[in-house]
């Protein structure tokens, strides 16, 4: 039950993209076509899961034990960079179509704030104190990212038919659409505690 609450919280209440403003660059950049958005969302979720499974034990059993906490940023980002390179190689070999359609955005997952954000949050957040909870949290964040991307790609496909004033064309109208999309998730802010009783 607790795991379900963690996932609900990550997807709806504290959505990493729409409430915590992490991962905005791919959110604005890749969400034009649905299959690109879905592919990106799934790739990011996979990288998040892999990254947590490696960084959480490193932090707990290596960095904390030897008092090397200050190396956290460097070690985490190196792990993420290596994992993204690994995912890129695997995708190129086994799913070349997805690799081709994601193009440059795949190596850019390294600089995705959401991936580094979720690995650091798993350490800093005191309610996440076991490996299981950390993995479920990353799964939830990944699903939340995928959810936001798919939702926004739907909104953007509607935007293509719209006819905004000249000054608003392109990025400004996209940002307004993103604002209204965030607004729609704002109503979930009391849900987790209300439904599951804290």
């Amino acid at each position: 039950m607790k795991f379900l609450m963690i996932i609900m919280t990550s997807v709806l209440v504290n959505n990493y993209v729409l409430s915590r403003f992490l991962g905005i660059c791919p959110f604005l950049g890749v969400s034009k076509k649905l299959n690109q958005a879905t592919g990106m969302g799934v790739a990011v979720t996979f990288v998040m899961l892999l990254a947590t499974s490696v960084t959480w034990p490193i932090q707990k059993f290596l960095l904390d034990r030897f008092g090397l906490g200050y190396l956290q940023t460097i070690v985490f980002i190196l792990v993420i960079a290596a994992l993204v390179q690994f995912v890129e190689i695997v995708l190129k070999k086994y799913i070349p179509a997805l690799h081709a359609s994601l193009g440059i955005y795949l190596p850019l997952i390294t600089t995705n704030c959401a991936v580094l954000g979720v690995t650091i949050n798993n350490i800093r957040d005191e309610t996440i104190n076991t490996f299981g909870k950390a993995m479920v949290n990353s799964l939830g964040c990944g699903i939340g990212f995928l959810f936001a991307m798919v939702l926004f790609s739907g909104v953007r496909s509607r935007l293509e038919d719209a006819d905004p004033p000249k000054a608003f064309r392109g990025l400004p109208i996209t940002l307004i659409a993103a604002a209204i999309t965030s607004l729609s998730l704002f109503g979930f802010s009391g849900v987790a505690t209300g439904l599951f009783g804290g």
Partner: protein, 183 residues
């Protein structure tokens, strides 16, 4: 391009946030209060300056195939140094910036300028470019946070204004502000 032009381009014409659309995550996240935004801007500018100079100095030494991980390690080193300094000397800013201080390492502005400029130009030019981009970043952050704090919370730098427009402060409103600044 003269040195002055190099510096000034980062302020308006190639403003990293509003024109190049880099570094949107910390812009949206830290601009709820002006002091937080300025702190974030200064921290990011320091890292940008140092990393631009370091990467420019090492540009002939770093092999091309591994350049991105090398840049990331250098930037992460500077970010860790800034984090530790802030934690020691300005702990209130460290607490309010929270995770976004560590996230400077994946700030697209820093990696973007390293890739686009510092890897191809001399140390002094890269330093000026970094300074210009950093000041542009601070300007954009200040503009966003000014609107958000004054119209959202009714205060300026933490001081409550009596006649402020007390609109309900929505975190989503910042997308709208950024739109107005872009358009």
């Amino acid at each position: 391009m003269t040195k002055i032009q190099n510096f000034l381009k980062g302020l308006i014409k190639e403003n990293p946030v509003l024109v190049l659309i880099l570094g949107t995550c910390p812009t949206l996240a830290t601009t709820t209060q002006i002091l937080n935004a300025l702190g974030m801007g200064v921290a990011a500018t320091v890292v940008l300056l140092c990393s631009n100079m370091a990467i420019s100095a090492l540009r002939n030494v770093i092999p091309d195939k591994v350049r991105i991980p090398c840049y990331i390690v250098l930037i992460a080193g500077f970010v860790t140094a800034v984090e530790l300094l802030l934690h020691a000397f300005v702990p209130s800013l460290y607490d309010s910036l929270g995770i976004y201080l560590a996230l400077i390492v994946v700030n697209c502005i820093i990696l973007g300028r390293a890739e686009m400029y510092a890897s191809k130009n001399g140390v002094i030019d890269s330093a000026i470019d970094g300074l210009g981009m950093g000041c542009g970043f601070i300007l954009a952050l200040f503009a966003m946070s000014f609107i958000r704090e004054v119209f959202g919370a009714g205060s300026f730098c933490g001081v409550e204004q009596e006649k402020g427009l007390r609109l309900r402060r929505l975190s989503v409103g910042c997308h709208l502000r950024e739109t107005l600044l872009h358009g």
